[in-house]
Amino acid sequence: MALQEQTLPLPGVAPQASTGHRPDHLLVAEMVQPGSRVLDVGCGDGDLLQLLESRGIDGRGIELSREGVNHCVAKGLAVVQGDADTDLVNYPDDAFDYVILSQTLQATRQPKAVLENLLRIGHRAIVSFPNFGFWKMRLQLLVGGHMPRTENLPATWYDSPNIHFCTIKDFVQLCDEIHVKMERAVALDLYGRPVPLNLPWWVWNMFGEQGVFLLSRGGKGR
């Protein structure tokens, strides 16, 4: 079962008609310096990698699902079959300029260890995940009294690959705890538009449908 196929497409991450690329992919790609080396962990069908390579970025990928890998290799991408939870330890320190974890954090068994590995392998990490603090989620749990299911995350609680949901607030706390520096943080609303920067955290946590973070080693979060 392809992880990406189950969690996607999110409306907020549906391809934009104008560019054919998902807004979160465009945002991630914009965070990456041209000419750098990138590892995309949980690269799915390789859409983000293709976007990065088209911008002259040297991209590699890891993907859990065999179908995903085979699609990627068939597109000529350098992707290996592997598991973020178990295989990141095999990568040497500082091997990449950026390590990307796009819409995959919530499906890992040990998000904290994975996050630490991302910043060991890469000088910077870019992490995006669905925000469980999004108002629609809160409303379903509060009013409906059941685990939230949205058009973005349609799986039921018993067949979801997403085992470690978190809110933007939770993620920021984790970054603080493991001394990860948050260089850039963007919350995208349901339509893939950035939530305005000048609004406070709690607004992001309420109205951000997903969070996209550019991280580096050391220091405290904001």
Partner: protein, 401 residues
Amino acid sequence: MTKVQSIKGTSIQSEDRAHEADHPSSPVAKFGMDQPLKLDCGIDLASFQIAYQTYGELNAERSNAILVCHALTGDQHVNNVHPVTGKSGWWETMVGPGRPLDTSRYFIICSNVLGGCMGSTGPASLNPATGKVWGLDFPIITIPDMVRAQAMLIDRLGIETLFAVVGGSMGGMQAVQWAAAYPERVFSTLAIACSTRHSAQNIAFHELGRQAVMADPDWRSGGYVDQGTHPHRGLAVARMAAHITYLSDAALHRKFGRRMQDRELPTFSFDADFQVESYLRYQGSSFVERFDANSYLYLTRAMDYFDIAADHDGVLAEAFRDVKTRFCVVSFTSDWLFPTSEARALVHALNASSARVSFAEIETDRGHDAFLLDVPEFFDISRAFLQSAGKARGLGDVGVA
């Protein structure tokens, strides 16, 4: 007394094959006393020859050459009628016009390995010093030796950089060794169902095969050619044992189950009652018609000695330090001879040395042999990998200039 049916002797006398060993139907590159091959065992082998086949055309830039490396019992006849067996080429599903190794785009070269018996110098060839067949006087060779000999052939063909080196099983070992030994001469490597070191289990199976050959009285301590015999029973047993390792439990069950061969009831004898027995006996006896027993000993030994990491202080990643070669590693789920874990070890090492690597595990129940069979997903990946490498190499869509 209980009826016994042992393996049948060979129907074709081995003369055709013996002739191929020195005078192959393929083109031959001869290397004289002035161009010795420096073997890992310390011996300089001279003179020697390498027999090869080519398919397609070399382009004007000489940039579209692919070297195909064959497996243990394969040979250079990738996509033409075999001169001894009369059967079609062993990889015609993979090589040809419109195939993943597209002969209308690429110039395909396949040479018989050093130590083989289809025209490249090996134990079945005549020793120029004595005028007799080499036999056990032939020096022990290794996978790196085979690759060195191939590099001399590629030099002879006037090719500086190979667009790709492709191989499965022992051929995959050679493909990986090429990238480790001559990284600047290999643009891309497609390594299939192989490993960077032969496992203890695989060495054990090879030892079983070698002992079966040596236990045959007709082996005559390796001197069977001079004494007019051939250890076909021992070699057939070796092949039968090896053949089981190329399949899988599921594949054997699907193909044969417990079905009987041309009979309804067991004969209460050691006759080949079961289809699987009959099949294995056929595999054994047809193999001996085309293969030299001593060659089998030497080639299995070469695989046993293979361990790339050992040549780099035990650190596999060191073998690929700063390689620019693009890699694609493929394994098959049901291959227990070269399981996915072996492929993964190679991939980890390549990752650690920052090489550009793709790795795909193909789901199939057909075992190690899957790389020789019609497995569409495997073909798709091979084709796509070579196409994207071709784009990076600047090969046009048509390929041939």
